[in-house]
Symmetry: C2
């Protein structure tokens, strides 16, 4: 028996998110497990570090897989990529420590959210960024984002109905980069993320960027520990899971 | 009667190229003309500066349109963008000199060809770049590309069967930028391009980059004035029509 670590890149546009769902729903997990099943001749289960939503992309999603087969990692890697569709690839596959679990063992995750901030939508950027036509105040957004850095109860940024266990998380970094007329990016790094936490945070930052709330309103939103206090979730297609550290 | 100049951006992946074809074939021209028809209540014809192939993208394709309507350019622009699909947008629309013809009046065109040069294919880059797994010699490709700059008979780079008129064109610029393990780009600027000329040029540059031909072989390929002397056409999805100057 061998424990493996797979690093995955995908264009999330045509996937209904990571997690396996009802028969006939195209998800990343289901596509990967189906390819593994064809290759190994036996059903396989992979565990993803983050359960990305529909439309969310990944440069470095990580999955764990316990393997009973005689196939070496290098062979499995090559064979798997040959079977996977153009919008999903295994960019690394290596032996992992015994018992490796991609979700439980993750220590740090990095996400990027892209906003195309120009009067007109851009067909070449449409799959990978959220279009906001009105000019955004990047400095105000950056100041607000800094208030989210640190250890907080992020319940205000957790989609209602999804509460499980503690909603305390630590953000190591939350930077807003770029300028109006071009792409604006939020980059966040933390020890873990609640359901829709990045997208809900972007929703609140957009209120600040549009001048509908002051930068320091973010502290009040956090303190409220109430989902209703934060902005609406920004759409999934602007979000990319950049990397997972162990 | 007013002559208009439309600047278009599109993700070419799901279009069968620019030019209107048989009923039921989705092309950029057909999609644009259909939207204009719905808007103006009368059939409209647009002329494109370049007849991009299936899969080829545009940041700045230009089209001309002769308009009989009372609609002002600003109104038409807004209404048109509201009707067009996510993968096609009018990024500029302005009055043009009387008789303006997007193809005949074009003085200069700029194209970009993207190569993703890494051992593994990249799902996030798959729509917009051609994947080449073996490392490319960028300096050799750049040297070969420089030999194409100037006024030449480019018949060797013209897809057979498409000869019309002179095949003499002037390239003002042909630069290869980037490095292996990352994206490598060819940027070309010229007074006009023959059918598949950029893609055929990329095919020859790839032979050089892979060490199968010397950089100065490009001079011989040009001199041969024979399509069979050049490399195979590189695929359309790596190509973008960047801009057209008048």
């Amino acid at each position: 028996v061998a424990d493996l670590r797979l690093t995955l890149e995908y264009d999330g546009t045509d996937f209904q998110g990571w997690q396996r769902q009802a028969e006939g729903t195209r998800t990343v997990q289901q596509t990967l497990e189906e390819a593994l099943g064809r290759l190994l001749g036996t059903p396989s289960t992979v565990v993803g570090a983050g359960r990305t939503d529909a439309g969310v992309h990944a440069e470095g999603q990580v999955a764990s897989l316990r393997l009973d087969a005689s196939l070496g990692p290098a062979e499995l890697w090559r064979a798997l990529n040959a079977l996977l569709p153009p919008d999903l690839a295994v960019v690394d596959l290596a032996a992992a420590p015994p018992g490796f679990h991609a979700r439980r063992d993750a220590r740090r995750k990095t996400y990027r959210y892209r906003i195309w901030n120009a009067p007109l939508r851009s067909p070449l950027r449409a799959r990978f960024s959220h279009h906001v036509a009105s000019p955004l105040d990047v400095a105000a957004m950056a100041a607000a984002a800094r208030l989210a850095v640190g250890t907080h109860d992020f319940r205000s940024f957790q989609t209602a109905g999804s509460e499980v266990g503690s909603s305390v998380r630590t953000l190591y970094r939350a930077e807003v980069l770029g300028r109006p007329g071009d792409e604006i990016r939020l980059e966040v790094e933390g020890d873990g993320f609640l359901r829709h936490m990045v997208r809900n945070l972007v929703g609140s930052l957009l209120r600040v960027g549009l001048g509908r709330a002051a930068p320091d309103s973010l502290a009040a939103v956090l303190a409220a520990r109430d989902r209703a206090s934060a902005g609406a979730a920004a759409p999934g297609h602007g979000l990319t899971l950049v990397r997972v550290d162990y």
